[in-house]
Point group: C2
Chain length 262, copies 2
C-alpha cells in the first residue's frame, strides 16, 4: 500500500494511492480510518509531509562512507559512532514533495542535500526487542536532510544548519512492505544523478535503533526516524535547482530551491 | 489568568483555574474556545503538560553562574555563548505536575534537576521584532530539565541525558501577564530549598531569542521555549525524592522520583 497526506479543500487529509488517484480517508492509515468518498488526481495533488510527527528523530551519522567524505570535504572530525545515539530535528522545518526550499537571505551557504530513508512509526512502543522492532513501523518514506554548512560551523546547535523552515522535505508517500535494509537511495539535481547508495550499509540498523531507543523512550504513532545518508552531499544547491530524492518503491521527493527575498 | 491541561473523564482537556476549581474549556485558551460546563476540583486534578508542543525548544546554556558551576562541578568546558543558538528537547519526555520521574534501571547517574521558566507560544509568528516578541507568548509555565550526567558524557547526542521518558516535567499551569525577565525560580528537594535565581540574569532575553529564532523558523501556537537555569543543580536526585520547581506567580511543579523496576 502507498498512502500520503495532501492539502484537500477542507484542509490536510490522508489518502490512499490507487492508480493515478488518491482516495481520501478519515485518518492516518496506521489508525482506524474510513474512506470519505472523495478522490483527487495524483498529478494535481499538493503533497504535505505524510505525517505531522510528535517526535522527529534523526540517526545523523550512520554510514561510513559519509563520515570519510564529510571529514575530507568539510574538514569535519566525525568519528564512526561506538553506539547508536539518536539525534533530533524539529517539525517546523518539514514540507512535502513539491514545496519550495527557501534559503534565508543571510545564509552564506553552501546548502547541501542528504537523501535519506525515513521510518514512520505506526504503534505506541516501549521496550521493543530488535527482532520485533520492524513490527512497530507503519511504512517508509523519503527525507532530504538539508544542511547549511556555514551555520553548522558557527552555531552551538544545529538549529540553523538543519532546522530552518522548509529544510526538511519529506515524502511524497509512505509505502508498506519494503525491506528498510535493502533500499537504493539516489539524489538528482536538475535530473542529473549526484548520489546513490544502499541502506544495506547502515552502521546501526533501523531495528537496532528502535530496540535501543525504546529502552529509554516511548515511540508514538506518527513519529519519524530519519536514517542518515551515505557518501557525498555535493554539489551545493543553488536557487532554481530541482533536488530529488529517489527510491524505486517510494517514488520521488522533489523540491525546487529558492532564495528568500531580501 | 491561569490555565492548565488535565486528564478528564473523556480524555485530556484544557481548563481555566478559578479559585479552587478548574472550569473545563473546549480548546487551548490561546485559541477560540468555550466553556464545557464541567468543573473539577483543583486538589484532585491530574495535571498533564499544559500543552502538547509541535516544537520543543530549549535555550540550554543561558546563565553565567550556571556555566561557571557546571565547568567546576562537572568538569565541563562550557563557554559563555557568543550568540543565542536555540536547542531542542523531545515531547516524548514531557509529563505534568504530580507525575513520577522514572530513572531507567541502567542509568549510572547522577540525575540532576534544572528548574526553568518556560514560554508558551500563542500565535503563529515569523520575522518578529524583539520589541514585539512578547506579544506572541500566550503565557508562562515551569519546566524541570532533568539531566542524566553519565549519559551526557558518554553519548554523542543528548537523547539519554535529557530526553528519557518523564525527564521533562512541565507545569502545573500557564499564567498570563507576568514579566519573564523578573521572575524568581527556586527548586526544593523534599521541602528544602537547593537553588534560587532570578530570570533577570539571562544572557540572552526571551525577546531576543524569539526575534532571532523567527528570522529562520516559524513559531506555532503551543510551541514551548525553555529558558535555561542558573546556578548549581545538586544534590543529585534519589528515588523517593520529591523535587519541586517554584515560582510565586505560576505555582509549584512537583514530581516524585522513582527508579524503573528491573
Amino acid at each position: 500500500m502507498k498512502w500520503c497526506r495532501v492539502q484537500a479543500e477542507r484542509g490536510p487529509a490522508f489518502g490512499i494511492v490507487e492508480g493515478d488517484e488518491i482516495a481520501l480517508v478519515s485518518g492516518p492509515p496506521f489508525e482506524p480510518h474510513a474512506r470519505t468518498g472523495e478522490r483527487i488526481g495524483l498529478a494535481a495533488a499538493r503533497f504535505l509531509p505524510p505525517v505531522a510527527p510528535m517526535n522527529f528523530y534523526a540517526a545523523g551519522i550512520n554510514y561510513r562512507a559519509h563520515i570519510d567524505w564529510a571529514n575530507q570535504h568539510h574538514g569535519m572530525t566525525l568519528k564512526v559512532p561506538a553506539q547508536a545515539d539518536i539525534g533530533y530535528r524539529s517539525p517546523n522545518a518539514l514540507v512535502g514533495s513539491g514545496a519550495d526550499i527557501v534559503i534565508p537571505n543571510d545564509a552564506p551557504g553552501p546548502v547541501e542535500y542528504e537523501g535519506e530513508l525515513v521510518a514512520v512509526i505506526g504503534k505506541k512502543a516501549k521496550h521493543v526487542r530488535a527482532e520485533d522492532a520492524l513490527d512497530v513501523v507503519a511504512g517508509y518514506t523519503l527525507g532530504n536532510d538539508l544542511s547549511e554548512r556555514s551555520f553548522q560551523k558557527t552555531d552551538r546547535t544545529l538549529w540553523r544548519a538543519k532546522n530552518i523552515d522548509t529544510f526538511k522535505p519529506m515524502g511524497p508517500v509512505v509505502v508498506t512492505g519494503i525491506d528498510p535494509m535493502a533500499q537504493t537511495i539516489a539524489v538528482r539535481i536538475n535530473g542529473k544523478s549526484v548520489s546513490e547508495y544502499s541502506t544495506a550499509n547502515m552502521i546501526f540498523s533501523l531495528a537496532h535503533h528502535i530496540a535501543r531507543m525504546t529502552r529509554y523512550l516511548t515511540l508514538y504513532p506518527g513519529d519519524v526516524i530519519w536514517m542518515g545518508c551515505d557518501g557525498p552531499t555535493v554539489p551545493a544547491l543553488q536557487p532554481g535547482d530541482l533536488v530529488e530524492v529517489v527510491n524505486d518503491a517510494i517514488g520521488v521527493l522533489a523540491n525546487r530551491v529558492t532564495r528568500e527575498a531580501g
